[in-house]
C-alpha cells in the first residue's frame, strides 16, 4: 500500500524490499483463504481471499513500477536519482501513471471487499456504485496524492473497528492481533498523508507499514500453530 510522494534516496531499495515483503504476506493470506474456501465453500471466505488477492496485485503493480522507475538507467538519469516526486513521475511516462493508478485502485478495492465481508457475508449490487467511487478516488489521487491515503485510512479504520467488534464478541486472541495489525496499517496511512512535509516521514510510514505486515506474518504463524494443536471435545459430536 504505497505511493510515490517523497522517497529519500537512501530509502530507494528499502521501500521496494518492504513492498516485496508485504506482497508475500498478502499472498499467504490469499492462499490460506483459498484453501479454506476449497474445504468450506463459504462465499465470505472466497471474498476475503479476493480482497487480499486484489491488494497483493496492487503491491505487485507498485513493485514492478518502482523497479523500473528506480533501476531503469534512462529513467533514473531523467529523474536524477535523489528525490522522486509525484510531479516528476507525472512527467516521465504513462506507464508510471498506469502502474500507480492500478496500485491505488486495486488497494482501495481490496480494502473495501475486506471491509464489507463481516457485515454482508456476500457482495451485493451496490458494489458497482462502490466500484465507481473507488475508481474516482484512485483517479483523483493522481493530482491529490493524499486523497488515496485518506481513503485507505478511512477503510482501514472501519476494518479495524469490524475486527475489534468480532474480538469483543468472540474473545479470540488472533482476532485482536488482526485488528491491531490493521490499526498499525491505518497509522502508516496517516503518516503517508503528511509525507509531503518531510521525506523522513515517508520512510517512517513505510517502516510502520512493515511493522503492520510483520504482525500479520506473526498472525499467520499463530493460525498454523494453533490449528495443529487444537483439540476438540471428545465424544460429543453434533448430530449429523
Amino acid at each position: 500500500m504505497v505511493k510515490i510522494v517523497f522517497t529519500p534516496d537512501w530509502f530507494l531499495t528499502s521501500d521496494v524490499l518492504i513492498e516485496i515483503f508485504s506482497f508475500l504476506i498478502l499472498c499467504l493470506f490469499f492462499m490460506l483463504a483459498f484453501k479454506s474456501y476449497q474445504l468450506s465453500k463459504k462465499k465470505s471466505v472466497f471474498y476475503l481471499g479476493l480482497g487480499f488477492f486484489l491488494i497483493a496485485l496492487a503491491e505487485l503493480s507498485t513493485i514492478l513500477t518502482k523497479i523500473i522507475l528506480y533501476y531503469d538507467t534512462d529513467v533514473t538519469h531523467e529523474i536524477g536519482k535523489a528525490i522522486i516526486t509525484y510531479e516528476i513521475v507525472k512527467s516521465v511516462d504513462i506507464f508510471y501513471y498506469l502502474g500507480f493508478f492500478l496500485q491505488r485502485f486495486l488497494t482501495l478495492l481490496g480494502l473495501y471487499v475486506i471491509y464489507k465481508i463481516p457485515y454482508d457475508k456476500k457482495l451485493t449490487l451496490d458494489l458497482l456504485l462502490s466500484l465507481y467511487l473507488i475508481f474516482v478516488a484512485a483517479l483523483l489521487s493522481n493530482s491529490m496524492y493524499y486523497f488515496y491515503h485518506l481513503t485507505a485510512l478511512v477503510l482501514l479504520v472501519f476494518i479495524s473497528r469490524n475486527y475489534y467488534k468480532v474480538y469483543r464478541k468472540k474473545k479470540i486472541r488472533n482476532t485482536r492481533i488482526l485488528a491491531f495489525a490493521f490499526v498499525i496499517l491505518a497509522l502508516s496511512q496517516t503518516i503517508f498523508i503528511l509525507s509531503k512535509l518531510n521525506s523522513l516521514l515517508y520512510a517512517t510510514a513505510q517502516l510502520i507499514q512493515l511493522a503492520g505486515y510483520i504482525i500479520l506474518l506473526i498472525l499467520i504463524m499463530k493460525i498454523i500453530k494453533n490449528g495443529k494443536k487444537e483439540k476438540q471435545s471428545g465424544d460429543n459430536p453434533r448430530h449429523a
Binding site: 479454506s36 468450506s40 475486527y163 468480532v166 482476532t175 476438540q232 453434533r238 448430530h239 449429523a240
Partner: protein
Amino acid sequence: MERKRNRVEIIHDMLRIIQEKGGKIRKTHLMYKANLSHKQMLLYLEELIKNNLVEDFKSGDKNFILITNRGREFSVKYLQMREFEKTFGL
C-alpha cells in the same frame, strides 16, 4: 439446538475419532462415536477410502478402519483453515 454438521465437518469428526482411538477403530465404534446411521457411515467411509484418508484393515476376524498419513494431514489442514476462519469471524 445444535446445527447440522456439513460434509467436511463429519469427515473431520470421523478422522478425529479414529486418531483419538490411536489411529484405528472398529466400524461399529466409529458409527456410534461419530453419531452416524449405518447408511451414512458407509457412504462417508467409501469417500474416505476413495480419497486415501483411511483404509480397511483386517485383524483376525475383526475389521478395523485405519487412518492414513494423508488422513492425518487432512485433519491438521482442516483445523488450520477453521482457525483462519474463526480469526476473521467467518
